[in-house]
């Protein structure tokens, strides 16, 4: 028996009600009790709210060029965070850029999750040759450095929001599959799965209804972390010129455009860099907080 836990194995009404709050679904409900998670959530929500309000905020158009400001690109009353080398408002591009990231990243991660969970469930539940195929394919993909993988893919299929999603799915699904497979392997020999088989439930029912819901604890944390990774990846692709096609505001692309004047006007690159850092930090802190909450059970 663990020393640090008080041994109360028998449920009483009070204890039961409390126990019901625990576990994976309760994880999100108990979020407010983790300070780390709340800091992370605030950072993420900060950008979400700005992105949602972008059309109604009193901002210059992100693509409008103010030729007069190009000579003095620093902060001014008209451009709070200055302008970029083409005279476009940095603040406006940051906020509109948040819309791109916050649309593309979740779509990419959710799609990757659908593919990854399917792979992991099939491999873990059927084992045998299905497992061999899924695991080997995953191993091959995971053996590439992620950035190299993205660059190769996007360079070949061309930069667009859809292609970023496709690349993200290819790069992330194997990792997700590996987590799900491990969780399924630990669950599949439990007796409730045998009990379901003794009701002649279909394989699909067992995988989706009996197995998948019990994987959600670790997956919620992983989901947040992956949002962070994808945010970095989108930034990297933008920086390498493989992001969204111009003139779409894109944080990675903004950093790149600013590098030419980095020594004179660092703000052009620093503000978008801070934006990426804060959003990724937000996702990571959220993931840390969720892990901490699930450990404190």
């Amino acid at each position: 028996m663990s020393v640090t836990q008080a041994p109360f194995p028998i449920a009483t009404p009070a204890a039961a009600a409390e126990a019901a709050e625990r576990g994976a679904p309760g994880l999100l409900r108990r979020l407010p009790s983790s300070r780390v998670a709340m800091v992370g959530l605030s950072l993420v929500l900060f950008w979400v709210v700005l992105a949602l309000l972008a059309p109604v905020l009193p901002l210059a158009s992100p693509n409008a060029q103010d030729y007069a400001a190009i000579g003095h690109p620093g902060s001014s009353a008209a451009h709070l965070l200055g302008v970029d080398p083409l005279g476009r408002d940095v603040l406006s591009r940051l906020i509109w850029g948040a819309r791109t990231v916050l649309a593309v990243a979740p779509i990419a991660v959710v799609t990757a999750y659908i593919v990854g969970c399917a792979m992991g469930l099939l491999a873990g539940y059927y084992r045998g040759w299905v497992d061999v195929v899924v695991s080997r394919v995953s191993d091959v993909i995971l053996s590439f450095p992620v950035v190299v993988l993205y660059v190769i893919l996007i360079a070949n299929i061309g930069p667009s929001a859809l292609n970023i999603v496709v690349a993200a799915v290819l790069a992330s699904a194997p990792g997700i599959a590996r987590i799900v497979r491990g969780l399924v392997l630990s669950l599949v020999n439990q007796e409730f799965v045998a009990a379901a088989e003794l009701r002649r439930e279909s394989d699909l029912y067992i995988m989706l209804v009996e197995l998948l819901p019990n994987c959600r604890g670790p997956l919620i944390t992983d989901f947040c972390l992956r949002l962070g990774y994808i945010t970095i990846a989108i930034g990297t692709l933008g920086f390498l010129g493989l992001g969204l096609p111009p003139p779409t505001p894109d944080w990675g692309g903004m950093i790149k455009q600013g590098t030419a004047m980095l020594t004179v006007y660092p703000h052009m690159s620093l503000y978008p860099a801070f934006a990426i850092v804060s959003l990724v930090l937000g996702f990571n802190l959220l993931a840390d907080g969720l892990t901490e909450l699930s450990m404190s059970d």
Partner: protein, 679 residues
């Protein structure tokens, strides 16, 4: 002066839902060399008490009151460096799970030698000390054991190593927390013998925590019964088992099946209710709510003092002189099923697994028949192939040879997916582990409703809902329980749900795979009574898989004893528990720790452990450990079937006349219920 004197000890835990008083006020003295047992259900604070003595309460535990005087020093007041001096050298502890007590990445020798070296011995002296202690725990080939890593030795050997580890510093107090739980019966019996022997040799005082009254009766001089963190009875071991005085102790003893007793002559009497949570307010006697003899005025107001019934017998009960003899709570009279129509017949049933170039014969040419409406018990230690047999029956696995007929139809090679709906509904199973049997993400009503729908028992939401309620009533649970999540239920409640689920499709054959082995004795009795009641009412045939011979004696009509995938002996239950015995059955019977002090009886201790089932020898599977091995014939020739009484088969080379000469291992237990109060 006592070696250990616990005075007015209070132990609390801080949790998210407030302060939990796990032990409110506890006092106990232990003399040097004395062996004290602590019994009680889980959640009564036994392990917490040991942890408090070791001062290992964890960050959220505290001792706000009381003293723990050990050799005159108060452990509660000592600082960490001084405690470290005492732990391991003066007080040692052995935990339940030997596997986790050893570091998997260090050799056994290295871990053992650490102890004397830590106390300043040179390498050579340390080695000598380790070799000596290993010999004491009957691990004679010390050099070879010391070179190995924990995963290279068996569970029984690990527990011996852990005992050696505890004894190395020659402690004056040894704390044992369920050291034999989880070991096989024959292995556990050998470990118990060892504990007794070492205690005499080293003169160590013991605190032995166990939920198994039989084990306590074999090892201890004195027994403390704990309930809800309190000591409710404290008596010399003979006195406790002959005249248990506290209603809780009497309940514990009455909920145990007694060897020789069966369900028709001496039904089990469970203790109703559960141990109160430490978060609940206490008023009066903490057992009053579950006590049949509680008196509202006397028992529910003031705290109850520990009173002396005799010089050596203390009891915390106001009414111990006036207790009624225990009565059977409801009529569990079991009709004797008389039919002898076989519903399931296995003939030469074989399941082999290929492991590289070796073959593992999990089931080897089994001949087993279950009669309709009766209870067939399959007995054996781990690795005997009981569960494989159950899996083939249910269709979760398939046989590789032989035949298996259910109601005349061959099903041995038909996996559950290829069976008809009726066949699947007809053979259902209750699993061993209450924590794995229900999906943690689903409300517990869900599998019941699902089973009803899948088997076409009920259609439409209303009808299913109504039938779910009936099923829950049948297992004596509140209908509202169906909305709970499994983690909100106790182990016994979870097993009740599992029973309801198995009966949802009106099965004809129910397989119960050690359904109560993970439950407390008091709960065991209730679940067993429930299972037997439903089985008898519905006329369902039951295959009951167990390693617990006493329980099998209690509930079975026929018994099959298995060892390493082979049937050793089979027959009617009465025939099996009387001579002639198969030598393995005889050893199993003599290994059962009986809750009757001094009832050692004849002891047959098996050497070694269950061998590997890979590539077995052609002769008798048991030959390697058999104390009555005839000779080379046992290794080379499969044993013939010897017929004892009618239908009683013993597979052994020893002639039946010679087997008959063996005296009974256990006397037929008297069928009376616990007789208390009258002296």
């Amino acid at each position: 002066m006592p070696l250990l004197s616990i005075q007015d000890l209070r132990v609390e835990y801080r949790t998210s839902s407030g302060r939990m008083v796990v032990i409110p006020d506890f006092s106990l003295d232990i003399e040097p060399g004395e062996s004290v047992g602590l019994v009680g259900e889980s959640g009564c604070g036994k392990s917490t008490l040991l942890m408090a003595i070791m001062r290992y309460l964890g960050r959220n535990g505290s001792i706000p009151q009381g003293r723990i005087l050990f050799e005159g020093r108060d452990l509660v007041a000592l600082a960490e460096p001084e405690l470290r001096q005492i732990r391991g050298s003066r007080i040692a502890i052995v935990y339940q799970e030997p596997a986790t007590a050893l570091n998997p990445s260090l050799t056994i020798g290295r871990q053992l030698m650490e102890v004397p070296q830590l106390h300043g011995a040179s390498g050579r002296d340390a080695r000598a000390a380790v070799v000596r202690v290993l010999a004491d725990v009957h691990l004679p080939d010390a050099a070879s054991i010391m070179r190995r890593y924990p995963h290279q030795i068996s569970g029984g050997q690990k527990q011996r190593v852990v005992l050696a580890l505890a004894l190395l510093a020659n402690p004056s107090l040894l704390l044992l927390d369920e050291p034999t739980t989880g070991l096989d019966v024959t292995v556990a019996a050998a470990v118990l013998d060892l504990v007794n022997e070492l205690r005499r040799k080293y003169g160590t005082a013991l605190v032995y925590v166990s939920h198994n009254l039989g084990v306590i009766a074999q090892v201890c001089d004195r027994v403390g019964v704990m309930y809800a963190g309190e000591l409710v009875e404290d008596a010399a071991v003979d006195s406790l088992f002959t005249y248990p005085r506290h209603p809780y102790t009497r309940g514990l003893i009455a909920s145990l099946p007694r060897i020789g007793a069966d369900k028709r002559s001496a039904p089990l009497v469970p203790i109703p209710g559960v141990v109160p949570s430490p978060a609940e307010l206490r008023q009066g006697c903490s057992f009053a709510r579950r006590c049949r003899d509680a008196d509202t005025g006397l028992c529910r107001t003031a705290a109850i003092p520990l009173r002396a019934a005799t010089d050596t017998h203390l009891v915390r009960c106001n009414r111990f002189e006036h207790l009624e003899p225990l009565a059977v709570p409801f009529d569990v009279a079991m009709p004797q099923a008389t039919s002898s129509e076989p519903i399931m017949e296995a003939h030469d049933l074989t399941r082999s697994f290929r492991l590289g170039r070796s073959h593992l014969l999990a089931n080897d040419r089994l001949d087993i028949t279950a009669q309709r409406g009766r209870v067939l018990a399959v007995v054996g230690e781990s690795g005997s192939g009981k569960t494989t047999f159950a899996r083939i029956l249910t269709g979760l696995d398939q046989a590789t040879g032989g035949m298996l007929r259910f109601k005349g139809k061959e099903i041995g090679r038909t996996l559950v997916r290829r069976r008809t709906r009726a066949q699947v509904a007809a053979i259902q199973m209750v699993f061993q582990n209450p924590d794995g049997t229900l999906n943690p993400s689903h409300r517990v009503g869900r599998p019941l409703g699902r089973a009803l729908r899948r088997f076409g028992i009920a259609r439409g939401r209303k009808a299913i809902e109504a039938r779910v309620r009936e099923l829950l009533e049948m297992v004596r649970l509140q209908p509202s329980v169906r909305h709970s999540l499994p983690r909100q239920l106790s182990g016994g409640q979870k097993q009740r749900i599992a029973i309801a689920r198995a009966f949802a499709g009106n099965p004809e054959l129910l397989i119960a795979d050690e359904p109560v082995s993970a439950l407390d004795v008091s709960v065991q009795a209730a679940v067993i009574n429930l299972l037997l009641g439903i089985q008898a009412d519905s006329g369902t045939t039951m295959v009951f898989i167990s390693h617990d011979l006493v329980l099998v004696r209690y509930l079975a009509d026929e018994v099959v004893v298995m060892y390493l995938g082979r049937v050793m002996e089979s027959g009617p239950v009465e025939a099996l528990f009387a001579p002639p015995y198969h030598p393995y059955t005889e050893a199993l019977l003599s290994a059962v720790p009986l809750p009757e002090p001094g009832s050692g009886g004849r002891r047959i201790r098996l050497e070694g452990e269950i061998p590997s089932p890979l590539d077995p020898p052609p002769g008798c599977r048991f030959a390697g450990r058999c104390p009555r091995k005839v000779g080379a014939v046992c290794d080379t020739v499969p044993p013939p079937a010897r017929e004892g009484a009618e239908g009683h088969l013993i597979f052994c080379h020893i002639p039946i006349e010679e087997l008959r000469l063996v005296p009974a291992v256990v006397e037929r237990g008297d069928a009376e219920l616990v007789n208390v109060g009258a002296e």
